[in-house]
Symmetry: C2
């Protein structure tokens, strides 16, 4: 039931984003879905413990052996970080409250798997953004995984682009308005961003 | 000009929050101010590269020698993480675009320093939340500092509580509405949260 044949081809479905901009997808702190493929099947988990680490596609996330996805991350050193939107809130919570040990989460939540270019873990068609990542280090004493983004996609045609931020107590904050301080911050931003 | 005598006493000014709830202040991903005291004077920096690491008051942030505050963090192993609100957006950007090497940021941005209970770094009166922290580890190869929160404060009387999320490109997303999924998540949350 996790057949590769069900993967939608990348080219038809996904709009690339320059990898240098990938950090802007995660820095605001959205709850994300992280997909993996352990060589046999695909899985997804919900993670809100993420961190941008640089003005580059380097990210950290916290997970460990208590998550079923951890073994796949540790062994394959690959994943996709997918950014869901507010209309997917029940998918975000649902994916985070069941386990890949006994559930095909793509089937259960009607998620469309799209073939990634560089990793075996699938992109998620329904998400507004996807970032293919390699695990470059695992800081075991803190359960921190350090990721390097290698390809990014953004669905600019998608109408709903607001993400959700987990508070940690079972509530989520939806994106509100955007404030522009590009001019004030010019000296601190990478060229061409 | 950084006299301790100017610190406002804690008891009169700050409402405590149970430390077990401190992670809920940071998990949504707000841009924060981090204060330090290097033994001579107070400083503050803006950080949006933070991560909750557990259902406990354990947090990570990314910084390094390129930030003036880093030496104080490394040497004193203490700081305060303060959470500003949207009405403080120009303070958030301003603190992040000048340096403690030549600027008294508390003076420049009109921030009121309140004496912390356990650390020498000051709380910031104007922020909606403050967390006193100890640096428990520095993962040097990734410039990750691991913090343990030891006391937390939340200003429930403050009218404006919306935080801002740095996108990384000079824009910021303001908190919107809140969605409640406590019941769906009950099995995953610590008791009593």
């Amino acid at each position: 039931m996790f057949m590769l044949a069900r993967l939608v081809p990348t080219e038809a479905e996904m709009e690339s984003l320059p990898i240098a901009r990938a950090f802007t997808l995660l820095e605001p702190g959205p709850a994300v879905l992280v997909t993996t493929n352990d060589g046999r099947r695909d899985n997804a988990m919900t993670i809100s413990w993420t961190m941008v680490m640089d003005f580059s596609p380097t990210f950290a996330l916290t997970t460990g052996p208590w998550n079923y996805s951890y073994a796949a991350l540790r062994d394959t050193r690959e994943c996709v970080i997918s950014v869901p939107t507010v209309d997917m809130i029940d998918t975000v919570v649902g994916v985070g409250t069941c386990s890949g040990t006994d559930t095909d989460k793509f089937e259960k939540f009607g998620l469309t798997r799209v073939k990634a270019r560089h990793v075996r873990a699938p992109l998620i068609r329904e998400c507004v953004a996807n970032v293919e990542c390699r695990v470059v280090d695992i800081v075991e004493r803190h359960n921190i995984l350090v990721m390097e983004g290698i390809a990014a996609y953004f669905d600019s045609a998608r109408e709903e682009k607001r993400t959700v931020h987990a508070v940690g107590d079972g509530t989520f904050i939806v994106d509100g308005r955007r404030i522009d301080r590009r001019e004030m911050m010019r000296s601190k931003l990478p060229d061409g961003l």
